[in-house]
Symmetry: C2
Subunit: 322 residues, 2 copies
């Protein structure tokens, strides 16, 4: 029996992952524990839910004392909030992660290295900053243009060094923007990419804060859970020395998103999208990646959708209650 811990397991991606592990365990008997500030009602079925914050060192001690075999680290302040609350973003996204690594290293060293956990950290394509090549390859440099992106890039570098020193196995997964997110808008600057699909399908109007020409990089929540599942099955030797991977995804413009929505749900639904330019959102999003050549991840077996219609269909299949 293995212990799997999902830190930030109350959030959307964490819940998708937990549900996926409940539906089809990676290894029969895997025991899944979640930690987060709060959990949804009727959430994914797991062995245990621990309420706590990663900024509390006692919580980190309790979690690491359980000696989880696989730790998914998803907890983060999202991009928009990290931009508006500088101190909070650095505290949660960088300093708490460093304290987590140190707390876990203490467990590993106390075990005389008989305990060697695997850490799967959710990073982001926000580690990159404009200007970009047409497609970002696997050796393009990290020059983030948001605090969130800087904190993710730094966390990757910290984790990579702890891995290199042999304290843990691990991998950083640079998620595309996850779309279509179920539920309500959040404080991420990318929230509208889901909103313009989800709200119209549910009979509501949606604000479009950027130009229809805006191109971006997407994958579904189902793909996100799939990336994280697959990451846990890979051997460290497959990606050693470069344990941060750009994930596959779909590159498309907002206009192409709207076209896919029109094809699947009709012009009347798509007409619920209302242009409403927001310079603050535009300023953030214009520095975000548009397209990738994620060759390493593909060679390692990571898979995503290949067009935006498939992404909408995943929402209709998995989350739509209309």
């Amino acid at each position: 029996m293995r212990n799997i811990l999902i830190i930030g397991g109350g959030g959307m991606v964490g819940q998708k992952l937990a549900q996926s592990l409940a539906d089809a365990p990676l290894v029969p008997g895997d025991r899944v524990t979640l930690c987060d500030l709060m959990f949804p009602e009727n959430g994914a079925p797991v062995a245990e839910q621990i309420v706590g914050t990663v900024t509390n060192s006692n919580v980190l001690k309790r979690l690491t004392t359980m000696k989880p075999d696989v730790i998914y680290y998803l907890a983060a302040i999202v991009s928009g909030e990290s931009e508006s609350n500088f101190d909070l973003g650095w505290s949660v996204n960088m300093e708490a992660f460093r304290t987590f690594l140190e707390t876990l290293r203490a467990q590993v060293q106390a075990s005389e290295n008989t305990y060697k956990p695997k850490i799967i950290f959710t990073s982001s394509i926000a580690v990159f900053g404009a200007p970009f090549p047409d497609k970002i390859d696997d050796t393009f440099f990290q020059a983030p243009q948001t605090s969130y992106g800087a904190q993710k890039a730094i966390s990757e570098l910290m984790l990579s060094d702890y891995i290199r020193k042999g304290f843990f196995d691990g991998l950083s997964i640079r998620l595309p923007t996850i779309c279509v997110r179920p539920g309500k808008p959040n404080l991420a600057a990318s929230s509208f990419f889901s909103g313009i699909i989800r709200e119209p399908l549910n009979g509501q109007t949606a604000r479009l804060p950027v130009s229809p020409e805006t191109r971006h990089w997407h994958a579904s929540p189902r793909s996100a859970a799939g990336f994280l599942r697959h990451a846990a099955t890979l051997d460290q030797s497959a990606y050693q020395n470069r344990p941060a991977l750009n994930m596959p995804g779909v590159s498309c413009t907002v206009a192409e998103q709207i076209e896919a929505l029109t094809d699947l749900a009709g012009a009347k639904v798509a007409a619920r999208i209302q242009p409403d330019p927001d310079p603050a959102i535009e300023a953030i999003v214009k520095n975000w990646p548009r397209d990738f050549a994620p060759d390493r991840a593909k060679a390692l077996g990571f898979k995503a959708e290949t067009n935006f219609k498939q992404i909408i269909q995943v929402y209709l299949d998995d989350d739509f209650n209309g």
Copy 2:
């Protein structure tokens, strides 16, 4: 009158910079203060020397309360020691730099943004990790293979975000290996690159811990001081959003270093180099960069030597007492 502060000003590069600023101030009347754990006897003439460590928050408060206009941040645990003492490297090279940034930000914010210092941070080509392209260009990714390299890459990312948010101006200067270092060997894994030139010129034998085919990237102490001087004269708009620059240098093998020494000082001097392979040093150095195409830095006016003979000649001119 401007205040210039050099944190780590007691070290070799700090002293070269301070001497250069004494010989030819950037702006007439510039007042130079150094901070370090210790200072050499008969060191560079400066207005003030402050003994203190960057891991002491009271020292950082004292330094930032002086409201320096330009701050050179050179303090670091070197690569070899950061590799052997994991905790010390992270504490000094990452956490102290973060505390420095926060302490300085508090000064800036207390001034209601009338105070806007410029931070020039000495980073390193150790932010890169093998395998490499033939020449590393300005958009090659940071995948360090030492803790020192990880800490430098992280510090750059932190500084970049504070700059992007408008708290400071600033720039990270990724120094080549500085060669020929005067004085004694240090704990840097790169120390032998200087040792094999300096010791033979001074009548002593020198250990060569790596293969003669080892190719690496060098610049003289005079060039290092020149980079740092030039960085202070650039306007933020020249490099905004990407304030970390690979410096120019000389790419050559150890065999070519020895050939240059033989040309300048004769075969008898070069014969004082004794092969003495050290697997620990080889393991670090084999993951270090060998050659660069530092186009951005060159376009911005940064200059270095163009062959290794010139580098030895700088040592003979500036530091040799034989």
